[in-house]
Amino acid sequence: MASISQPFRLSSLPKIPSLSNYANQTEYLQVVDNLSPSANKVNIGISGSSISQYLINPTPKLVFNLPIPSTNIVTACDVDENSDNLETWCYGLEARKVSHLHLATKPVIQDATSSSNAEISSKFKYKLKAKAVSIKVYSKAEKVLVVLQNGLIQTFDHELKLLNTIDISYDNVKFVQPFQDGQGNDFVFVLCQLNDNKLCYKLFQVGEFVTCIELNSIILENTTLDGAKLCYQFGKLYILKDSNELSIYQLPHLQLQSNIQLPFVSKGSVTSIKPVSSNRVLLTSDNIIYLVDLLYNAVLFEKEIKSVKAIQLLSSAAVLDNSDDNRKTIALGVSTKNGTNPSSYLDVINIDVGTGTLKDAMGKGFMVKQKRGLQKLFNESNEDEDAELPSPEYEAILKQLKTCKKAENFDSIFFKKLSLSKAYYTDNDRFLNDNDLLTQIIDALFANFKDEYPDALTYLLTHPLFPPAHSKGLLTKLKNNPRLFKQAIVTCPNVPLDDLLTELFNITNVELCFDITLRVLQDYKKESIKAGIRKIEKMDITNFLDMILSSDKPDSDLQLNKLQIFQLMSLIIDSIGLFALDDEYLEKLSSFVDAQVTVVSQNTELLHLMDHYTRNSSFINNKSNSSTHSSATQPISAYTVDYLEC
């Protein structure tokens, strides 16, 4: 099943006020977007501090650190390894409205012990026209793709020589996402905020020499990204606005797929969103992390982190080819403790994303729809059989029932107001099919009455939709009321197997014993009966056996040598094992069975005799009046010969 484990700390962040400000702390922390579910290395640019590399396992450890001046803000950052075991680090720094692009190369650090010998081997710097919004290092092509906020897409080589510039003709670039399709081709799309609430989307293919070819350009009306959180996964763009309004767009044509209201996120809370697998995202709201399935609209798991005020996600690794054995991944977040001196930490969260199937999402949906009572199929029909269904004022009735302390009053309200004519459920009462309503009525009934129950309970026990929540433990509740007890056994649906079996092994009444037996066999499968018997802890079937064995005596009121009893008994013996019984009972049992077998064989012989006699006599009869014998009863011969009548 899907789950989120308790986050563990990677590192604490320097006590710079901007790093603990929820509003923009995620912008000051630039995590290299190349996490994979099994990744052990995290690269992060911490504004005003350093560009750092951490190892997660075996213990979180800082293995490399590239300090930056405290006035500098990291605007974008990327790291890529090449085949020569070298890492190319590229990052954009902004200080006093001046942006620079930096590139550094260093050997790859394999594990925690080898960290000491890593040193920067080369370093380059380039002055940019505007802030770098996104950097992507293509180590194979030895190129770097940089998207600037003013709408320029620039390609550099590994010595930061400008090779190519494309103007996407819009400034104010808000979101850039490089991605690959299944075949390893590179793409990038950008979102620019235009004036008057418009949004421009452009999709580019990143060619062999890291030049961009524009594939698609779309302008969306009435969309603003101000205050919105965005993330991209598997051809889908998720935009979270106003904390709880999520829009899903389908690439490559940026079609709106759905708009989802997230009722569990309150407006104004600190939110963040990151994808973890197909159709599933990790969402945070203040200090709660949710794993949300956006196909089924279900909250698969939620985890509240008590010790912090808020947690925001920085990066996550998405599970491709999700299957039963491939469902674990990690996410990186920043958590902030409140107080006079707020402090923030980098946290790693382990996530089991589940399988993304209906199985995981069942019962966890958050889109609650308005319920409706039983409606007529045709609005205007004058059929007498399709008579108007009563539609009582359930709310008012329920209110009245709750205050009723007297059984007679309860009954009169119950039967009259709900217009029920009989003391038991009939098909005419089918309008009464709301499970919640029934639950509330029974709640009221059990709250007001303890020993003497109104007749309404008898009615409710016959109702086929008696809520399962109440049928649990019902038998114990009604034990002092034999009539209702029997009623519950015979008609009340959803009585748990455990309850029935417990009663069965304790009961002394032969009639009830037979009723329970029938009920168990009717409602439950053989396997679950066996499993149920095994589950009962202190079980004594001697009582049950005694009753059956003694029922053979002529003075017992009901014979228990019935097919169903034997069926159940065989299941019981199957599940506990025959030799778990005492010798005494084994003997008794075997003599009982012997007695039954004797009866059967006697009966068979008698039947045989009778059959023989009647056949003989009918044979004689047949002979005497064979003339009236019709041809229909003649035995069919192997073949018949028909002659043409001419």
């Binding site: 793409f187 698609n216 199929l377 059929e383 086929p464 009717q522 018949t640």
Partner: protein
Amino acid sequence: MYKLSVVSGGKVALPRVHNRSATRKSVSCLTKDGSAYIVPFNNQFKVYSIDTRQCIKALKFANNDVLSSIFDNDSVEVVHIELVNDDDMDKIRVYTNTGKVAVLKYKGKLATEIKNWTLDITGEVFAVLADGKKILTTQQTGNSYKYALYDLIEEEEGKFQVNHIETFENVLLSTWSNNNLHFAAVYMNQDSKKSVLVKSLVDNSVTQNFPVPSTTSSTTMNSHFVTALALDNNGEQLAIGFASGVINVINLPDLSHRLLKWHVDSVLSLGFTNDNAYLLSGGWEKVLSFWQLATNMQHFLPRLNGIVLECLPVSDKYYALVLQFAENNTSSDYQITLLNAMDLTSLLAINGPFPVFDTVTGDVEQPISTVTSKSSVSSSNMLQSKKKQKRELLKRKRHDFTAPMFVHPLSKHLYLPHVSSLQTYDLYKNEQVNYQYVTSSVNNAAGKVRLELTIQDPVVQDVKFTLDGLWMITYEVEYPPEGLLSSKELSHVLKFWQLDDNKEWQLRTKVLNPHGSNVPVTNIITAPNSINSSQGCLTADNNGGLKFWKFDSKQNNWCLNRLLLPNYNHFSNSVQLAWALDGSLIFHAFEDKLSIIEFHEFKLLEDENGSPVERTLDTPIQALTLVNDSTLIISTKTSLHSFNLLTQSTISSFDLYPYVNAVYKPGHFARLMAYDANTGRIAVAINQPGDAVNGSRTLQHKSHILIFNSDLTEKLGTFEHNKYISSLVWNYAADFIFMDIKSRLGIVSTTASSEMVDESNNDQAFESLHSDSFTEKLLELTKKKVMVNTEAEDVNDEDIGLEFINGNLAQNKTINMNSFTSLFENTDNVQMDTLFDRVMKIIT
């Protein structure tokens, strides 16, 4: 948004088939030039081209106000079609049994104004004879019929005068010659003896009147019971067929006769060829027999599709046969076959869809045989059985006339199990595509006669297709002979068929008793695309057992893959299945209990406490559908409701009790529920008994089709139909197809195209489950761009020119024919100023 129209299907109309005294049952018309053949159906006229063997025109009653006013009732039949001899030669005159006449154009467009008038005649018109100059009416009197003959005189254009000539009482059987000029009848005379009357219609003279010659010394009823009659064109030879199988040919001038013996069972049809040289005869053997009268030589045409109800020459060139598929006893299935008289090849086979209903419908006509069986009636209880059946039908207030019908996902053909065979029908072409025997039965090779009729053929009960359309799964039940100890031990067969290159189904795997001996398969469901690329299926038995079969590409065969043992302590046929699109869960409804099975472990889904997740409903579950992978549509005997699996709550419910309770057999209501997997819409057909006439019940029904959205919160349409609806299916596109009790096919279709559905509609099916769609779209886009770019290179020279025109723009921008392509790729819902903005961005 939806609309209902009855578009296709129907039955070949045999106007006189319900009249026991008629030997000529069918009506059809061959055009003068012999190129087209016109056949009336119960919902249209169909015109077939003999050369191309195709239906070239259909005159549908529903499409024309005049025709629909004439054929306003089931009992209205076309009794005669004749060509109108005028200059155009493109019209036919049609007479109905209600005395209405209409002139129709069978070529070109059917005019909205159809000339029609009513004949001033009492009684039911039976036939129009003597080239349209005589009219015969009929009226049932007890066990026989009273015929009246009228003169039809055309006074002026469209005005007709009718004069009564004479009346024939107590007619048992009648016929007339192929040229309509001679009439013969077998009637009961005053001494209750059967006599033959032969009459010429040219001069109204009675030519002959003699008792039916005794053919044999035998005293059995069959040897005296006349079943067929034929008269030659000269009025000189009369052939009488008997229930015993004997044909007596009488030479009328001297009343000498001879016996022709070959038929084993009753002679059902007789006919002289136009040159009077041959006598055609047919019966239960499914063989057409040719008797050369001059030499007594006999020729045969065996292996016809059905028993021969009528065999008559249409012209000198063609023979028309009326065949009945008698193995279906719940409905009368007729086929008209046109044979080439020269080489006896079949030119046309005309029939509608052949549904097998759950109960015997009211208008079944069973042919006469020497024995009474499910599909035949013997001469001795011919009169009672029909009445008894009708009485029984009337006694029951509610009827289950549902019929199984299935749609192939790719070809969209309708598949109708027809007892031991499978009929494939194309709704859009309105033609039968194929008729394939899928079981081994007596019927396949030859007809059954006499006691063979009591042998029960295997019956195909269920047909399913894998979603890729490559495999068909059939389930059939084989019946052992009656009167044995093992008679109740049915065998159940599951068969897997593969579509071969000739579009025929080839049997690949046959599983005998898939759930053990004597255990029926109560439901079959095919796998969603996520499981073994849809090549799999689940079968359920009547005891809670479940088996998963899949095509194993290594074994190259269908194999049992997983199973859940039967486990209940009781048996039920109310078993329904639904399968989640992602394949993770199976919903199994057994009686009133709904349990959920995890597919991968193939065991019951359990909650945290280890107890199975189950729901109990008020009554046994009749139908179960999983919509959009999130809502279960459950119909019990009392209600149709939607249950949201994600929130575990009932959203909406409708009262079904008055229409479903005690009407349908377990699971049959599912035949009247269809689900559009693309939009998530649900269609339900509701049948109701028709309004009582004078306080007494009739066998008429009315019906409604209701369309709901995916969680039943919105009713998208309600449509009325005037007949009982037998099945309702989704056609794997945007429409629902239904079939009524008269074999007519209708369609409930959307007028709005699927693209017009709101793009952010949450109710839409989970398109995203096909994860490849994004990659495909991306690839498409890339390819398009690459193509544009290569073109752009070719016009490089022009670019320079354009640059000159544009001026050397600051940002190194050039405008060419490709500059604006991106502009038009997404122009939906774009406001004018945005468009302008875009253009400006490109050019500046």
